[in-house]
Amino acid sequence: MEPVVDFRGAVCLLGRFPALAGVDLDVARGEIVLLQGPNGAGKTTVLRACAGLVPVVEGDASVLGVDLRADRRAVRHRVGLLGHASGLYEDLTVADNVRFWARAGRAHDADADAAMARLGLAGRLADVAVARLSAGQRRRTSLAVMVARRPELWLLDEPHAALDQDGRDLVDSLMADAVAAGATVLFASHELDRAQAVAHRTITIAGGTVAVDRSPAGTAAPGAPAPTGAEPAVEPDPEAVVS
């Protein structure tokens, strides 16, 4: 299958801190891949590196066929990133925001309106300033921007956070729809039960490296024995330390 994300020994620095210390990662087109791992493991940095926001300083990295070390800007308008921050203008209304970001991504107002309707933001909420929204409503607005822009690669950082039950179900169905439409999803989550039910594959990140890459997910509970055979299972990173 065509690789959408292809990282080989990717190193990313935040200032002088190596947030990613050599990541090997493959994501094929149409996959939904879950990133899990403890706080500070490097999940967010993986997503930001895939979006072309954080430079990869060592190793090889390509996303959607774009070599990130050569020109990471070229990939940006083709991916969508839902981060911890909303990426919205506080003083503009929900509709203003979704339409502005949709137009910036060459989408039409009709796409923006459809996306707002899908996220339950049509009607009264559309004309409310973002500053007056609850955390969950902001999340929905950010998701509406993403839906309207139709990215080829969805990068979601804790997409279920701050959402109600209804909203969490909605996120899951959005991911499924995106993949059905030919996109690819890479997301980080701590809500493992829900996330593993959606994901095709689970990758565990620890210490800025891939600790476990397991597929297919959902067949095994967390903490179950790691595969010992064929899969590119375990990064022998202690070697790098000792040598």
Binding site: R16, G207, E239, V241
Partner: protein
């Protein structure tokens, strides 16, 4: 696990430190720059003797009232430091362009070092200009075109250094500083013309001009001073640049250690993540 990884880490750290010390046992000096420094120190003493004692006072063209007399001597210091400050800022702009083109750390270090030295020379230019003004015009400050534009230039480069201090990430700092370094230099002629026109509107040269008759001993003193100003700039740059370079090396040495430490976090996490993972890690170390 932690004890086995700890050992090599410490060795690396002390190794890198010792390596740096071996390269520069006495800080930023090298035999060449030390000899250069000695020659420079002797030259400064000789220059001061020439400029302040041996060279003749200005008698003006035909002993007119424009003659500057002993006052001319400040010119031997003022003109060389002014020359050096322009040289320094030109170098900052050049290094900024080169950084934006090549994206290598050395050009950024050069731009920063040159701006620091330039700010010192500009302050000296203003101080000597002001002293000369006190004698010639009777006031410490006149809104003379050259003085005013030099003052603005000083503030612009103080802003440049403040910007460098406000950004922690070395790559972001280098890029933004390079653009400001370039803009600051592009701004020099605009400031110069606007201030000159601004002064030109009100009065033209009611103050005595800074143009003594230059010949013989005075010409020698001035040329000697100019040469010495450039040499002093070069000597300061050698040391400032080596210091910047050593700092950058120290940081990049730290990267290997930081990478190893970062990877070790994964090892430390493994026992919590479950026994099978720890076993797998064990397998990785002992194939």
């Amino acid at each position: 696990m932690n004890t086995t990884t700890g050992g090599p880490l410490e060795d690396r750290e002390t190794g890198s430190g010792a390596g740096l010390l071996r390269v520069h046992p006495d800080g930023t000096a090298s035999p060449g720059s030390r000899r250069f420094g000695i020659v420079l120190s002797v030259s400064v003493v000789v220059f001061l003797a020439v400029a302040l004692v041996i060279s003749p006072p200005d008698s003006g063209a035909g002993a007119s009232e424009n003659a500057m007399g002993e006052m001319v001597r400040i010119m031997y210091v003022h003109v060389p430091v002014a020359n050096a400050c322009y040289l320094a800022f030109f170098m900052t702009a050049l290094a900024s362009v080169m950084y934006l083109w090549k994206k290598t750390e050395g050009w950024d270090s050069l731009a920063a070092a040159s701006a620091e030295v330039g700010v010192v020379f500009t302050a000296l230019t203003l101080a000597t200009g002001s002293i000369w003004g006190k004698i010639a015009w009777g006031t410490w400050w006149e809104w003379d075109a050259r003085l005013t534009s030099t003052l603005l230039m000083l503030v612009v480069y103080i802003g440049y250094l403040a910007l460098r201090r406000a950004i922690l990430d070395p790559v972001v700092r280098a890029k933004r500083a390079a653009i400001v370094g370039l803009v600051a230099f592009a701004n020099v002629p605009i400031v110069h013309y606007s201030v000159t026109w601004w002064r030109g509107l009100h009065q033209e040269a009611t103050i005595s001009r800074f143009d003594p008759t230059i010949d013989g001993g005075k010409l020698f003193a001035l040329m000697f001073g100019l040469l010495l100003g450039v040499a002093l700039y070069v000597w300061l740059m050698i040391h400032r640049f080596r210091l910047q370079y050593a700092e950058a090396r120290l940081e990049s040495k730290g990267l290997d250690v930081a990478l190893a430490e970062r990877r070790a976090e994964a090892v430390a996490d493994r026992p919590q993540a479950g026994a099978p993972l720890a076993a797998a890690a064990q397998k990785g170390t002992n194939p």
